[in-house]
């Protein structure tokens, strides 16, 4: 009897849930003017267009050196934003973690800064910074930097919280100072995890760098935008190919490093 009631309840819950999803889907399609049939119908055309336009030609290959230069700028920008972000995030992370935090007010402050930095989208930072910093690498770098600080701080707080508290106690008992404890008992435990997060952040930043580049006119995003707007689709294909290859290579390298250190 009881079981039957429960099963009935489950059934109604499922139906209700499905109903809500369908309603939201309908609502979303309506507000965004999205027609799923039309969407699916365009797929074949899109595929045809992609295969007949997006390929690399001899002529576009001549632009390769220039594109590679822009690619290098984007990759370096992403790495610099991540590493410098790491330094700031490390301090905020130490402040924000229960294990190493010295005061509640400081911990709240660190978590607040991190939350604001990561929840304001990178595009917003890019647009705001663009106004005064102008079209150069620094604008893109700063936008990525703010996002990296926000994301890494949260990740570091989690890693530091997970680190075992016991070695901290032992070092405290030997008369070690706060920073000795942090550097010799806490960091060695979380370092592999932190490096893994840093690598992840670099991968993410390279993807976002393309976006930021389109908005701020820097790096590979600028090249893409330029060829895209001048309808030079062969060059667009080449740019895309370069991005894809570099993202895959960097991901493979990160995975390899992770395998060894974790």
């Amino acid at each position: 009897m009881n079981e039957k009631v429960m099963r009935n309840q489950r059934k109604w819950q499922t139906i209700l849930f499905a109903g809500i999803i369908i309603a939201l889907t309908y609502l979303s399609s309506d507000i965004t003017d999205f027609n799923i049939v039309h969407g699916i119908a365009t797929l074949p055309d899109a595929a045809i267009w992609i295969f007949s336009n997006l390929f690399v030609t001899q002529e576009s290959l001549e632009r390769l050196p220039k594109i590679l230069g822009k690619l290098a700028e984007t990759i370096l920008m992403s790495i610099a934003a991540t590493t410098t972000g790491t330094v700031v995030a490390l301090f905020l992370g130490l402040m924000g973690s229960k294990t190493t935090g010295t005061s509640n007010a400081l911990a709240m402050f660190a978590r607040f800064i991190a939350s604001v930095a990561r929840n304001i989208p990178v595009v917003a930072w890019a647009l705001i910074l663009l106004l005064s910093f102008g079209q150069n690498s620094v604008t893109g770098y700063l936008a990525l930097f703010v996002g990296s600080v926000g994301f890494l701080t949260r990740a570091f707080i989690e890693s530091i919280d997970e680190a075992s508290q016991s070695a901290v106690e032992a070092l405290r008992a030997t008369g070690a100072t706060y920073f000795q404890i942090v550097y010799k008992a806490v960091i060695p435990q979380c370092l592999p995890q932190m490096i893994s997060w840093i690598l992840f952040m670099i991968e993410t930043n390279i993807r976002s760098a393309t976006l930021v580049g389109i908005l701020t006119g820097t790096g590979i995003g600028y090249s893409f935008d330029l060829y895209y707007k001048t309808l030079n689709y062969n060059a667009v294909a080449l740019v895309t190919l370069c991005i894809v290859l570099s993202v895959i290579v960097i991901e493979l390298m990160s995975n390899h490093i992770r395998k060894v250190i974790l």
Binding site: F34, N119, P121, A124, L127, I128, N136, T210, I214
Partner: protein, 284 residues
């Protein structure tokens, strides 16, 4: 004490001092990674393009802009109603690409899970997913914008690609953790592949699938904002782009930023709670 200094167990560094590090591979690789990244960072600052940069002007100006944004937010080019409507469009874009992505990813993940599929199909799906992931979302959206014509279709299709890639990875990992025993027991009774999927795999992973889908929705919200700003996908992201790049209206930029921030924090709080509830150990 004299005898100890010639102990066979002591390792010495090149300068004759006693070494205290384990010197294992993981330690060396971490050191190498950190030094390489440091070096690349220095290179980055040397090779940056500093055209038109005037820090003495840019920093106080940005500080002033931030002050106006955050302390005097307000709307001037459109109404509150319109603002909410634009937020609704952004949420709609995010929702559609997530839900469609989840449905497609579900089937692809069944093909990618090694315990439900054969090796070659699984490999093929995984490689396909890796390539799709390597193309930044904004490029997908822009490519679809010409290939399929501008409009929400291009934005949703573009965002769909990454959602699928992300969810296939998450779903297939969840499927692979389904208890072997349950599947074997069903197989022994002569159940077909679809029976196993609907009666063993789906029930035992459903909450995970839902949580992952919600996590992706959180990501897709900020992606949708970005696509609005960078790829003309509409919604609040596009208004942000207009307010900042077209009207230079910092008060409006501030208000839009607040709206985005508020929603993003609500979504983040919800997904953190989901994470802590369903994957306490591997929260990522």
């Amino acid at each position: 004490m004299e005898a100890i200094s010639i102990s066979p167990h002591i390792k010495r560094k090149a300068n004759g001092k006693i070494s205290i590090k384990t010197g294992n591979k993981s330690e060396r690789v971490m050191k190498w990674t950190i030094s390489t990244l440091t070096l690349l960072t220095i290179m980055a600052f040397l090779f940056f393009n500093y055209d038109g940069l005037d820090l003495a002007k840019a920093i106080p100006e940005t500080a002033y802009n931030l002050k106006v944004m955050f302390l005097e937010p307000g709307l001037s080019h459109f109404t509150w109603g319109a603002a909410f409507y634009q937020v609704g469009i952004t949420l709609g874009l995010a929702f559609l690409s997530t839900i469609l992505g989840a449905v497609i990813a579900f089937f692809l993940a069944l093909m990618a899970a090694t315990n439900l599929s054969n090796k070659w199909i699984s490999k093929t799906v995984r490689i396909f997913v890796a390539i799709v992931r390597a193309v930044p979302t904004v490029l997908w959206v822009l490519i679809f914008a010409i290939a399929a014509g501008l409009g929400s279709e291009a934005a949703i299709l573009g965002m769909l690609f990454h959602s699928i890639a992300y969810l296939v990875k998450a779903f297939s990992e969840a499927f692979e953790e389904v208890d072997k025993g349950i599947m074997e027991a069903l197989k022994a009774t002569g159940a077909s592949w679809w029976h196993i999927v609907t009666h063993a795999v789906v029930p035992s992973t459903f909450t995970y699938l839902l949580s992952w889908t919600f996590l992706r929705f959180e990501i897709n919200f900020s992606v949708a904002v970005a696509m609005g700003a960078a790829a003309g996908a509409g919604g609040i992201g596009f208004e942000l782009f207009m307010a900042s790049g077209f009207y230079f209206d910092m008060r409006e930029v501030g208000l839009i930023t607040y709206m985005i921030l508020l929603l993003a924090i609500i979504l983040e709080l919800m997904s953190t709670r989901l994470k802590n509830r369903y994957f306490p150990a591997t929260a990522k």
